[in-house]
Amino acid sequence: MSAPVKPWRVILKAIVLFCVLNIVLAPLYPWLSNHEVYNHILPGRLRFPWIQKQIAYSVNLYEDMDAMFSSHILAAGDKPADEFRVLFLGDSSFWGDGIAASDTLTEQVNRLDLRTCRNQRIVAYNLAMPSLYVMKDLLFLNRGVQYKPDLIVWGVTLRSLSYSNSNDDLLLPSHPDEALALITRYKINIPTDSLKPGTVWNRTLWAGRVNLRKLFILQESGLTWTATGIDGIVTTTRQALVGNDVNPKDFNMLHASTITAGQLMFDVLNAGDDLARPAPILILNEPIFIATGNSSRKYYNAYYPRTPYDEYRKFLSDWAQSRGQPYIDAWNSIPPGEFTDTPFHLTPDGEKQLASILVPSILQLSCQGGQ
C-alpha cells in the first residue's frame, strides 16, 4: 500500500522544483530567442514583428532583439556571394505601418530586381521599427552589421532625430547593456537614467515569463503569417482627405518656434556611420504630408510647424555636406494623396514612388568601392 500523500510536502516540492527550474532553465530563454521556427520550418518575416492590435498575425517583442532578428528573413542563412545587401533603418514609415509586408519600401525596391554594375542582385531588408528615435536604429544597426550589409539606407525625420524624443523609446530600456555600451563607445549625449544594467534576476524564467509567452505567440503566428502573408493591419485611411486642416493643438505637434543644431542627434548618425563601415550609409530625410488647408501657412502638418522643420532640413543638409555623407532630402517628394493615417505613413504607391527616388543613389553607391 502506498503512503498517503501529504499536501504540505507537495507544496514544498513544488516550490523547490520551481526554484531549481528557474535556475537550470534560465539559459533556455536566450537559446529559444535564437532558435525560432522562422527560417527553419516557416519562412522568415519581411519585417520585424510589430502590431497595435491583436487582430493580425504578430506580437510586439521589442524587449527581445534576438527574437526579432531570428524571425526576420535576414537571418535565413549566409549571405549569397551574388547579393548586394541593403539594410533599411527607420521608423513606421519604412516599416510600412498600414500596408502589407509585401508593399513596404524594401519590397518595392526588391520588386525592381536591381543589379549592381558588378551584376550583383540588390536585395533590400527592412530593419525599421515603428518608433521615432534614431538611437533605436543604432541598436538595430549594431546587430545588423553581423549580416554583412553592403549599404545602409537610414530614414530620419525631425522627430526621430530630436533628443527630446528619447523618452518615448521602448527598445533601449529593454537592452540596457547594449545601449550603454554604444552610448559610452560613441560618447552619445542622451540621458541614461532609464537604462539599468541587467541583473541575474532579469535572466530567470519567472522574470522573463511575459517575454517567453510572447516568444511562443510569435512562433505560432508564424503559421498565420505563412498562410496569409499578412503581418499587420492594412489601413484604407487617406491623410489627404482628413488632414488638410492642421490642428495646432494636435498632441503630436512640435511645440517649438525654432530649433538649433544642438537639439539634433547627429552624434548618433556619426556613430552609425562608424559602425557600418565599410558599408556606406545613405541618409534619407523622409517624405512628409504637406497640408494645404487653413493653418498651412504656419504648419506643414499635425507634427511640424514650418519654421523648425525648415531649420531641421538645413541643419541635416549642412551636416551631410560637411561630412560628404550620401543624402537625399525627399521631404516634399510624395503627393499628399499617397499618405495614409499620419504625415509619414505612405500608401503602396507612395512607397513605390519613394523607391524610385532612392534607386539612382542605391545604384550609384553600389558601384562605388571595391566590394
Binding site: K6, V10, F216, E220, T224, A227
Partner: protein
C-alpha cells in the same frame, strides 16, 4: 476571470472550506461580493452596480416564489437578508471609502440604494404572502427570465437599448456600441428556471433564503457553470464533504490543470484560431483546416479549463460540483458527444425541454417516431444555439447538431443487424470506434464554423475553402 482573481478566490475558498462554523453565511458574503466585483465595466458605469443588484433582486424574488412554507420564517432568514443588504450597502459606500482597487467609487447615492432594497424586501414579502396567485407569478417569472435572456442575447436589441440609454443621458450613442455583459445571467436564468419548474412539479426541496442564494450565485460556478441541481447542492452546503489529504491534492490538481488549460493551452491556441479575419485572408484548404482544428481545441480547453477551475474551487469549499466535460472529442458518435460536452447544460435542456416535448408529441395525435425524433432533436439543439446568442449563425449551429443527432439516430436504427459480422468482433469494434471518433470530431469541428464566424456568408465561404472549392 483573470489569474489574479482566480488566485484570490482560491485562497478565499481554502479559508471558507476550513471554517468550523458559519460556512454557509460566510460563503453568502463572499459570493454576493463576487457578483459585484467581477461584473465588467459597462458602457454605462452605473450598470456595474445596478446589474449585480438586479441579479440579487431576481434571485430573492425567485426564492419568494418557490420557498416552502417551513422555510419562510423570519428567524431562519434574517441573517441572509442582513448579509445581502449589508453587502449591497457596503459596495455602495465605496463612494466614501474610495477603494478603487476593490470596486468603483462612482456608486449611486446611498438613499437611492436603501430605497431600492426596501422595494425589493416589500416585493418579496408580498409574493410570499400572496399565495393565491403564486402559480401565475411563477409563470410570469419564467416568461420574464426568458425575455431578459432573449434581450441580452440579441445584439440588435442590446444596441437599441444602449443607444436609447446614451441619448437619455445626453451621451454620444457611439459610446453605447459595446456589448452589454450581465455577468453570469445565462447560468443564473437556468438555475432559477430549474427551481421554479421543480417547485411547480413539487420536486424542489425546502431551502432557506441563504441556501437558495448560495446555490444561485455560488462563486466558483457563477460565471461559467457548471449548472448544478439545487437538491444536490444543498446537501453539500448543509454537510460539507470531508476533506482528506488526497482531496486537497485533487482540488489543487484540478485547479492547476484548469489554469493551464485556460491560460496556457487555450490562450496560445487563440492566436491561430479561426476567425472572420482569417477566413478572408487564408489561401489554401490545408491552412483552413489547421486553423479550424485550432479553434476546436481552443474552445474545448478554454471552457473545460474554466470548468476545472470551478470544480477545483468548489472542492476546496467542500463541494463536488458536477462534471461538464468527459473527453467529448473522443466520442464515436454525436449522441455520446452531447452526453460529454457541456453536460450540465444538455441535462438541463433534456429535463426541461426535450423530455416534456417528446412526451407531449407522443401523447397527442400519433405521429411517426422519426418525425418526433426530428422535431425534438432539431428544436432542442436550435434552442441550445439560441442560448448562446439570438443570431442566424447560432440557429444554424444548433440545426447542424440537431440534424447530426437525427441522422445518427436513424443510422443506428437502420444499421442494427445490417452491419457485416466483422464489425462486432473486438478488432472490428475498435476500427468502427476510430472511424466514429474521426467522423464525429470532424462533424463537430465543421459545426464550429457557424459558431465562431459572424455571418452565414463567411461560414459558407470557409466551408468552400476547406474543401478547396474557393
Amino acid at each position: 476571470m483573470n489569474i489574479i482573481q482566480i488566485s484570490i478566490l482560491a485562497v478565499t475558498a481554502l479559508i471558507l472550506g476550513r471554517l468550523p462554523k458559519g460556512r454557509q453565511l460566510a460563503l453568502l458574503v463572499v459570493s454576493t461580493f463576487v457578483v459585484f466585483w467581477l461584473q465588467p465595466v459597462e458602457p454605462f458605469i452605473s450598470l456595474k452596480f445596478w446589474l449585480p443588484v438586479a441579479t440579487l433582486t431576481i434571485t430573492i424574488v425567485a426564492w419568494a416564489l418557490t420557498c416552502a412554507p417551513e422555510t419562510r420564517n423570519w428567524k431562519q432568514n434574517w441573517p441572509a437578508i442582513a448579509i445581502l443588504a449589508g453587502v449591497v450597502v457596503l459596495m455602495d459606500l465605496n463612494r466614501y471609502f474610495g477603494l478603487t482597487q476593490v470596486y468603483m467609487s462612482t456608486t449611486p447615492p446611498v438613499a437611492l440604494t436603501v430605497m431600492t432594497l426596501m422595494g425589493i424586501a416589500v416585493t418579496a414579502l408580498l409574493l410570499i404572502l400572496w399565495q393565491k396567485s403564486r402559480r401565475v407569478f411563477q409563470i410570469a417569472a419564467l416568461v420574464l427570465l426568458i425575455l431578459i435572456l432573449v434581450f441580452l442575447k440579441t445584439p440588435q436589441l442590446v444596441s437599441l437599448a444602449l443607444n436609447y440609454l446614451a441619448s437619455a443621458h445626453g451621451q454620444n450613442p457611439d459610446t453605447a456600441n459595446a456589448a452589454l455583459s450581465w455577468l453570469g445571467f445565462s447560468y443564473l436564468a437556468f438555475r432559477l428556471m430549474h427551481t421554479i419548474r421543480d417547485r411547480q412539479s413539487g420536486r424542489l426541496p425546502a431551502v432557506t433564503l441563504a441556501e437558495y442564494v448560495n446555490y444561485v450565485i455560488f462563486f466558483p460556478a457563477f460565471t461559467a457553470g457548471p449548472i448544478d441541481r439545487l437538491e444536490r447542492f444543498v446537501k453539500e452546503l448543509r454537510t460539507p464533504l470531508p476533506m482528506a489529504d488526497e482531496d486537497w491534492i485533487d482540488a489543487g490538481t484540478r485547479l492547476f490543470v484548469g489554469l493551464f488549460k485556460k491560460f496556457v493551452v487555450a490562450d496560445l491556441l487563440a492566436v491561430i484560431s479561426l476567425s472572420d479575419v482569417v477566413v478572408s485572408q487564408v489561401k489554401g484548404a490545408g491552412w483552413m483546416w489547421l486553423f479550424l482544428y485550432a479553434y476546436a481545441f481552443q474552445i474545448y480547453f478554454d471552457f473545460s479549463g474554466y470548468t476545472d477551475i470551478a470544480i477545483g474551487l468548489g472542492r476546496l469549499l467542500g463541494f463536488r460540483l458536477p462534471e461538464n466535460f468527459a473527453a467529448p472529442y473522443l466520442k464515436p458518435n454525436l449522441t455520446q458527444f452531447w452526453n460529454s460536452w457541456h453536460m450540465t447544460l444538455t441535462q438541463w435542456f433534456r429535463a426541461y425541454f426535450f423530455n416534456p416535448l417528446t412526451r407531449a408529441l407522443r401523447g397527442g395525435k400519433r405521429l411517426p417516431v422519426w418525425i418526433i425524433i426530428f422535431v425534438t432533436q432539431i428544436s432542442t439543439m436550435v434552442l441550445i444555439g439560441l442560448w448562446h446568442g439570438v443570431t442566424i449563425n447560432y440557429v444554424l449551429w444548433g440545426a447542424w447538431h440537431g440534424m447530426g443527432l437525427f441522422i445518427h439516430n436513424r443510422w443506428s436504427e437502420f444499421s442494427r443487424g445490417r452491419l457485416p459480422g466483422w464489425t462486432s468482433s473486438p478488432g472490428g469494434q475498435r476500427v468502427m470506434n476510430v472511424i466514429g471518433v474521426f467522423l464525429t470530431f470532424n462533424y463537430v469541428t465543421l459545426g464550429w464554423l457557424f459558431f465562431t464566424l459572424s455571418t452565414p456568408t463567411l461560414a459558407w465561404e470557409a466551408m468552400l475553402k476547406l474543401f478547396g472549392m474557393s
